[in-house]
Amino acid sequence: MTIGNALFAELNIQSFRGLRGEISDLQGRIASGTQDPRASADPLRFVRLSAATEQQDTLGRYADNLRLAGDRLDHADTVLAEANQIAQRLGEIALRSATDSTGDDFRSALAAEVEQLRAALIDVANATDGGGESLFAGLSGVRAPFRESAEGDVAYHGDAAVQRLRTSETRSLQTGVSGAEAFLGVERADGQVGSVFDIVDDLAASIGAHPGARESAFAAEGGLRLSLDPDAGSGPTRLTVEGPDGRAEVAADVAAGSPGALVAAINAATAETGVTASVAPDGASIDLAGAGTISVSRIVQEGARGTGPAAEAVALDAGTPVGAPEALRPLRHDKQAQMDAVDTLQNHFADLRSKVGALGAAAESQGRTVENRQVMIREAVAGLEDLDVAAAITDLRTRLVTLQAAQQSFVKVSGLSLFDYLR
């Protein structure tokens, strides 16, 4: 086929232009080290690369969250370890204070140390993470969730919720424990749940805050008057009544200043104890009577967390008080009860540390999983995104040789002309 010189030149020029364009593209790819990212260059590769990139972004967010959760959990673990040390020291103090040989001076010193440890516990409860945010405020974001009132009560201003961060497609990891759980949720041996600070306050009270209230039992011959602590408020009250016929534990919901329900409960147990009860003339106290020695002990007022006595008792002689009333400690101020309570405290912090540790371990474990997945995804992305430089350079050389050959052949062919032979 003869195509004419003009078209021959035009076709060659187009061919050179195309080859130069391909060489330029290839050179650009080599310079950037990446393959053409456009979907049109390789639709299948683009689909795989976009999925891998999306996964890479997602894993990056999970890794960030796991790192942040891990940091907060590490901080919480450190702080709870400190709380546990304080609880252990409180246990030692409870043990020392329970020893009969401990004198009042040493007891006062122990009480002072308890106060210091209490202050340290408040600091611990208000501890913050590396970002300065409270560890135990729940979702409230309050900087110091545990605050001591003028009356010495420690109140929680956070909430019981827990912050969570997404750490996988199906899981959100909590980044700590709430202040309510850590410092208000101590479950005692009797199943009641109380505050760390109430236990410490009880210990302080039992050690020496009220030296006159060292006994939790009061006995009298023939009759006694029992005055319940009006500050304890309304709620279930339990106590042990012992009379000539035996003992019984009675319980009733007592309204503040109105002991009628408890009187009825004591009278309901008269057959077991031989003790009868009546509302005293003041309307707030209970008069107990029996044929022999009668006693009251182990007073429990649920909900009452004060450091004062649970009740006062005085012997009666023909309905008239004899001598000064004696303060009665609540059952929780008993030595054994104190040691049990502090023991519970230690167990509570140990349990919390276990929980936080388990969360931290979960974060660490999941972090390793995410890291492994990130490595795999990075490799996948690199395989899809990175240029095979050796192949690209080989391709470039091939195209350069093709261009040179095309140019030389064009020059050669176009240089041949019959006109050279015309004379």
Partner: protein, 621 residues
């Protein structure tokens, strides 16, 4: 004796003509549109008689016929191939440019940044610095989407302008064709005809590259052609003898043809091939892409607004919309004489006046008129009405006019709305806190079915029977007492409560409404979760959807590129076939030159011999 003279002279003349034509071919070897001329060396019918000789009928040569080397079928194929290639050459590069814009440095990276910022904010919702990064990331995302939308719009407007220029060129070509046709009609069969035909064919090829056409010989004069639009029957004529049609094109690339015949109705057609066809197809692809981008941006705005509305700000307010796609296109009147411009600085389609708005400068103030022509606002240099603020910078002249056409929902309008970290709703609307004294492990979920804002305490009065009591948290007053159903649900007023797990008698829960704690991160976490699609609600999955857009567009680009390569190959073959018939090959011309030269010399020698013989005869007398 005169026979040899005449024969040699005729040969000499014929080969001089052949040499001249060969020279013309050589001279036009690179001339675009030049068709090779072939000389037909016809044997003479006979040497004519003269005063000195009798006529003879069996000798001599006459080189009278010079023909343009043209194959109508090859030329038609070449034109069709040129039209197809011109369309593909417009479509593929433009789509490749847009694909590069969509792929690199665009919204995809900004979206990843936004999701990363939200995830980081979920870890520290109380930190204003981290919230500020969400604001910055949101603005970046909105700006990148808006930039992309504007770029696509600019590309579309550029293509529309290019289509208008191309049509102007096509009209010029058609007018030139009409002139050449008239010249051809008046040229007869002289030597000037072939250059005119070459010129006409070159113009036809130019026209075919502009818009696909069908070229047929004129029924009355085979030297003339009749040109119709496209390759289907019934299409309007573009050129009829010496009259040309006039073309117009709109912003969408649709052609309006006013035929050459006087009084013939105008027809509209969407060009399929040629540069105009390519421009029309490209405009269609751009519009489709812009629509897809608008939909994607709207989904981001809607999904994020839905999740954000469920959250609460620090002040307890529901989260507002994060993104807006409301906007107006500002069109100044052509007759404006002032230098003032109009800029929309705030837009909310829900509250702004509906329809097209017009702002007219009258007596030194701007007056706003709604679609019904009712004045709704006035202002010296700005107008603020609910949902719309328009400023008019520059010097305005009375009578200046701007029209605002609503184009709500366009990606180019995308804006990030919050400007203060406090406007971000990080926390949840309802916070349920189990009491620290609870001994059971049940979880309480609360939902509102109507307005309710007062905090409540939910107490389990009897875990065995499922009896629960709801109290006002502020004063302890009982609100309701009811039993849980088999699914652990109970409703009270505008509240729906669901208890899951094992509750214990005496357990209680404090439920607080619209008062999230500073560390409450639930809404930020939910927004960050939108990075992947929730199969149940269909919310989220923006990145994957954008990748789907890219993949679909990539398939279009790939198809356009394949078509470009295919049309180039077809045109290459058609050009080769055409060139084989009409092209000038210098080697062929050199060979012919040599041959004609020898023949010319031989005829000259014969003439010389005849002269010598004639002189010998004269001298012998």
């Amino acid at each position: 004796m005169s026979d040899i003279f005449n024969t040699a002279f005729q040969g000499l003349t014929a080969y001089r003509k052949a040499l001249s034509v060969t020279g013309e071919n050589i001279a036009n070897v690179d001339s675009e549109g030049y068709h090779r001329r072939d000389v037909l060396l016809d044997p003479a019918g006979g040497a004519r008689g003269s005063v000195l000789s009798e006529g003879r009928s069996d000798s001599g040569l006459r080189g009278t016929d010079v023909r343009r080397a043209l194959d109508w079928l090859a030329a038609a194929r070449s034109r069709t191939a040129a039209s197809d290639k011109a369309a593909a050459d417009v479509l593929a590069p433009t789509l490749e440019t847009l694909e590069g814009r969509l792929t690199e440095g665009g919204p995809r990276e900004a979206l990843s940044g936004m999701m990363r910022a939200l995830a980081q904010a979920a870890a520290a919702p109380q930190n204003d610095g981290v919230r500020a990064t969400v604001l910055a990331a949101g603005e970046t995302l909105a700006a990148s989407v808006a930039d992309l939308g504007r770029d696509i719009d600019r590309m579309a407007r550029g293509l529309s302008d290019r289509a208008a220029q191309t049509v102007t060129g096509a009209n010029t070509t058609l007018e030139a064709l009409a002139r050449v046709q008239r010249e051809i009609a008046g040229a007869g069969d002289g030597d000037s005809l072939a250059p005119l035909l070459d010129r006409r064919d070159r113009l036809v090829t130019d026209l075919a590259e502009t818009v696909g056409v069908t070229v047929e010989p004129d029924a009355r004069d085979p030297d003339l052609v009749r040109i119709t639009l496209g390759d289907k029957p019934g299409r309007p004529a573009l050129l009829d003898r010496g009259s040309a049609a006039h073309l117009d094109v709109d912003a969408q690339g649709t052609l309006t043809v006013r035929p050459p015949a006087v009084g013939a109705p105008a027809q509209t057609h969407v060009p399929e091939t040629g540069r105009l066809g390519g421009l029309s197809q490209t405009l269609g692809a751009l519009r489709a892409t812009a629509g897809t981008l608008d939909g994607w941006a709207q989904k981001i705005a809607d999904d994020m607004a839905a999740v954000h509305a469920d959250g609460r700000t620090r002040a307890g307010d529901p989260g507002g919309a994060l993104f807006s796609l409301d906007g107006w296109t500002v069109r100044p009147a052509l007759a404006n004489t002032g230098s003032a411009a109009a800029e929309v600085t705030a837009a909310d389609a829900a509250t702004a006046p509906a329809g097209e708005l017009t702002f007219v400068r009258e007596s030194g103030v701007w007056r706003g008129y709604d679609a019904s022509g009712t004045e709704f606002a006035t202002g010296a240099d700005r107008i603020d009405v609910p949902g719309l603020s328009v400023t008019f910078p520059g010097e305005a002249a009375d009578g200046d006019r701007f029209t605002l056409a609503p184009n709500h929902g366009a990606a180019e309008n995308m804006r990030f709305l919050p400007t203060d970290p406090g406007q971000l709703a990080a926390g949840g609307a309802i916070t349920v806190s189990p009491d620290s004294a609870n001994t059971g492990g049940a979880t309480l979920a609360v939902a509102r079915t109507g307005p309710h804002t007062d905090a409540i305490d939910v107490r389990i009065r009897d875990a065995a029977t499922g009896e629960v009591a709801i109290h006002d948290a502020a004063d302890g007053d009982a609100i309701a007492t009811d039993k849980l159903d088999a699914d652990g649900r109970v409703s009270a007023g505008a509240l729906s409560l669901t208890l899951t797990g094992a509750a214990a008698t005496g357990d209680s829960y404090r439920v607080v409404f619209d008062s999230p704690g500073a560390a409450d991160n639930r809404t930020f976490a939910a927004l960050a979760d939108l990075a992947t699609e929730d199969p149940s609600s269909g919310l989220g999955g923006f990145g994957a959807r954008y990748d789907d857009i890219l993949a679909d567009f990539g398939a279009q680009v790939s198809a356009a590129r394949t078509r470009q390569e295919g049309t180039a190959a077809v045109k290459d073959r058609a050009d080769r076939a055409m060139a084989e018939v009409s092209g000038v090959d210098l080697d062929t011309e050199a060979a012919r030159l040599s041959s004609y030269q020898q023949a010319y010399e031989a005829n000259a020698r014969a003439l010389n011999v005849a002269r010598e013989i004639f002189e010998t005869l004269l001298n012998s007398m």
